[in-house]
């Protein structure tokens, strides 16, 4: 499982194997990781002697690791900040941030104000939104995750003012948490959510102020919370690294991006 990569020995091991030219390590966003995992598989097929290793830990880890030289490429699920402009980057896809509910939940649309009230603890029960009288399980992301920053930015709320019932690490944990709890609400990448819904996970994406979280609304930029998915690196990449980078934005990656419901940048 790629989520649980914080275990130190594994981490040290992977760093020490970097010395080998034919291996490359990517760390960072858990939103980008599943996409890169598929791209890496295809890449390894066409470059049989190479191994691509992928670890998650959030976009900030991706940036820190690249800066420290612990990984060659970082996966970032947001635009680069001003202080990070020293790094080079390549945008591989555009994704949106979607709010998800359990598929049993009949609610189809929420407004920005309603979301703000839910996350600040002003609305605590589903009955206030026209459903059963059960407490809302508010699922929130841990600090240092770019999905969290995107969310706070949209809702216009300070993180210390959010009153969550649960805090999760990466997307996968969030999806499992919400699909296992009919009264939960959370936010994840639209790509990751659609991918899981297609696989039969009990989840649904809701509309934001009447705008559905789907491909066409991301493509015509009418969906309110959009972000770029980037690969960042420092200085000159190794041969294998630059090969992987061009592979990720090349034709071969198209079907993979499609499969993960993210949009190729124009």
């Amino acid at each position: 499982m790629n989520i649980f990569t914080l275990i130190l020995p594994l981490f040290i091991f992977s760093v020490s194997t970097l010395a080998n030219e034919q291996q490359i390590l990517l760390t960072g966003s858990s939103t980008v990781a599943p996409i890169m995992l598929d791209i890496a598989q295809a890449f390894e097929k066409s470059n049989p002697k190479s191994t691509v290793e992928i670890q998650t830990g959030g976009s900030t880890r991706g940036i820190i690791d690249v800066k420290r030289g612990l990984s060659q490429i970082g996966m970032i699920s947001r635009d680069l900040k001003k202080s990070e402009k020293g790094l080079k980057y390549k945008t591989i896809a555009i994704d949106g941030l979607g709010f998800v509910l359990h598929s049993k939940n009949p609610i189809k649309n929420l407004s920005k104000q309603q979301l703000k009230n839910i996350y600040s603890g002003k609305i605590t029960h589903w009955s206030s939104l026209g459903w059963v009288n059960k407490p809302i399980t508010v699922v929130h992301k841990a600090e240092g995750r770019s999905t969290l920053e995107l969310f706070l930015d949209y809702i216009q709320i300070k993180n210390s003012k959010v009153k969550p019932s649960l805090i999760i690490g990466d997307n996968e944990q969030g999806i499992k948490t919400i699909s296992g709890n009919p009264y939960a609400i959370g936010y994840v990448s639209i790509g990751a959510a659609s991918y899981n819904i297609k696989k039969g996970v009990k989840l649904k994406l809701i509309s934001l102020d009447g705008i559905a979280a789907n491909k066409s609304n991301i493509m015509n930029k009418s969906y309110p919370i959009l972000r770029t998915l980037n690969l960042v690196y420092k200085g000159e990449l190794s041969l294998l690294g630059s090969k992987l980078l061009s592979f990720s934005s090349g034709l071969e990656a198209n079907t993979i991006l499609d499969k993960h419901y993210v949009i190729k940048p124009q």
Partner: protein, 285 residues
Amino acid sequence: MLLSHNKFESYLFKGLTLVGLFFSLSVFVVLFFLIRSGGHFFLTTKISETLLFDQWFPSEQLFGLAPMIAGSLLVSLGALLISGPLALILAFFYFYICPVKFKSILNIFMDIFLSIPSVVFGLWGLVILVPYLAPLFPPGQGLFTASVVLAMMILPIGFKTFVATFKTVPDEWILAAKSCSLSEWSVFRDIILGEYSRKLVIGFLLQVTRAIGETMAVLMVCGNIIQFPDSLFAPIRTLTTNIALEMSYATDLHRTSLFFCGLLLMVFVFFLLLLSRNESKEEYF
């Protein structure tokens, strides 16, 4: 020239001693590393305040560890309350009552249990246990769920240690008890609990030691909210999950505070092991 047999053996012995020494010393290396990395935090903040303070907002330079220390202790205690008695009874059943035919089955079952990676227990808790608990006791993840998952993980350790303890009970006692036609229950109550209770403590302590350091399984089912739990089902965050959640992006003082969390854990485990060593005059290890 070939080495003589004796010479070879003495080299082998010396070599293995060195390897053993190296591994024992590596504990001190880890400790040194933790103190060096966490020491800065120790020097720049008032430790007494940190340990008792309940506000954890690293971005605002607030490092209160009290809720997480409480979380770690409570979840380990909860796990022990579930697993401790269960392991003891299971071990008693295995050693004194279980027919020989089923003994190996139970033993293999425990070995398998012991070798399951902790992440699998966490995943089991997240996708099987939590959906049952969520509608009944929202939000479903919290102190209770984490305790149950941990209890399953530490059960085989308790089981193995208790069986080892039972092996030291003199056969004559059991034979004498049987010849007096005492029931199994009396044997359990009067001999095991009555005369051997002090030696059983080690089994409980080793279970807690395992529980307090567990990270990934707990991370998936404890809810990760930093607070003192106000009910059995309230979400909590432990010292270990705090490190796992925040280490990836922590810098500067925040980073050293996480190393300090690790140092605290090491101190807890050290004391637990010291206690269990004191309790066991017989050597199992």
